[in-house]
Symmetry: C2
Subunit: 264 residues, 2 copies
């Protein structure tokens, strides 16, 4: 049955990216024929949901599919590439930080299909809004990836591995690092028995504002105004936490330097 | 005419907070009788919009109003307090970082009415969602402030000056500092001719996720996983920018320490 489909996709992985991507593919009318994961329960769970075949042995992976999507942790991509059977179809990974070469070193038809978003087990992403960044070793492969990506997302970009590496670094700043500052803010509130929810509207508006204006135009605060009195007061509150005080100084200087450099 | 109103409010200031707060008061059925600003054009613009009287000389400020709201820059509060006529009504400021004493040092009926949000000239805030943090020198004053605040917002909290100072510091982390990281991300993208809009969905989701889960639970990334290879790759991209590389290391260590401390 599966073998007769015109466009066969094999999904490799069963984590958050594989799960959300698999769902989005099926919803977009792109059936997933097979799900491979070394963990049987995981492979079965996702395969059942996607109405696909579950396999746990790389030797069982179909060798005639048109598209193989490796949606595993960054540092597991190389291992999967090694284990796959010889295939003629297009093999892609979904990772921001792994170069195309990780796949093209073995497969002639190689590509990258990088959905730029943070995925959570319990939150349903709106794939239409997620930028998908593509790269491929040849034009037909790129055309094929574009076709798939455009069925999922309204933002599809072709970028090279150097651009993707920088994009991934920028995403670390915009996601991991900002989230750490939320965590630090929560800690500060807990010290005064204040609930983190007090900051929810501010956090939402800060994010929204940066996308509507630009972050440079949206910048405010004591550091930008060089309000030494306010900064001293903040540092006084942090005197028992020298690391946080040092971070406060570093980021405040960064804001001031950014302003000088960009004149905003 | 104005003198016969049962609840007179004098609004002092004409900037972003004064403007948005003035509009919200009027919309909530709490008329503003007078707007004071030393800059004539500003006082007139806002007074006209709020259907209030504009005054530019502190001596002209009504001395019989029930509520005086000082919505000026943090470092201008003291000066305004000095210049106001002797009044019996309740005098409050709207600042996160200014203690109650800045007003209670002169006025017996003193308070703080701190709306915790970042205001922009061009964005209409939804006041209902904005937490309003209150403090007052006496119970009737606090009751009066609560009455006003509840007409504007669905989140009203009574907090003391020490709590408010810490809340303001936390807001700097959650707003000013995260916005700076957005700006750094934008800069990184520009270096590779990539558009900042690629990060908009990630930024929105990061903020949303931190409010739905908690920031500690939402934390991801190379630092959390201690993925040394990914971190080395990022630092290699930053080798021409030692300050940014140092910041990357500092925040990454912070994420790792936070994890150890809180076990997430």
């Amino acid at each position: 049955m599966k073998q007769q489909q015109t466009f066969d996709i094999v999904l490799i992985g069963s984590g958050k990216v594989a799960t959300h991507l698999g769902r989005a593919l099926v919803q977009a009318g792109l059936p997933v024929a097979q799900v491979y994961s070394p963990t049987k329960a995981h492979a079965r769970r996702l395969a059942r949901e996607l109405n696909a075949q579950a396999v746990t042995d790389p030797k069982q992976v179909f060798d005639f599919a048109e598209l193989y999507i490796i949606a595993v942790k960054d540092d597991a991509v190389a291992d999967v590439v090694k284990k796959l059977p010889d295939v003629n179809g297009l093999v892609v990974h979904t990772s921001g930080s792994v170069p195309l070469a990780a796949i093209s070193s073995r497969f002639a038809n190689a590509g990258v299909f990088y959905p730029l978003q943070t995925f959570s087990a319990k939150r349903k992403p709106d794939f239409k809004t997620i930028p998908v960044c593509l790269e491929a070793t040849n034009k037909p492969a790129l055309a094929q990836l574009k076709q798939v990506a455009k069925k999922l997302s309204s933002t599809v970009r072709v970028i090279d591995s150097a651009q993707r590496a920088q994009l991934h670094l920028a995403a670390v700043f915009a996601n991991n690092f900002t989230n750490h500052f939320y965590a630090l803010a929560q800690e500060l509130l807990q010290q005064q028995k204040l609930d983190f929810s007090l900051l929810h509207p501010l956090i939402r508006e800060t994010a929204e504002k940066a996308t509507v204006l630009s972050p440079a135009a949206a910048q405010t605060g004591p550091a930008l105004r060089n309000d030494k009195k306010a900064m001293q007061a903040h540092l006084a509150l942090l005197k028992k936490n020298p690391k946080l005080a040092a971070l406060y100084k570093t980021v405040s200087s960064g804001i001031q330097e950014h302003r000088k450099k960009h004149g905003t």
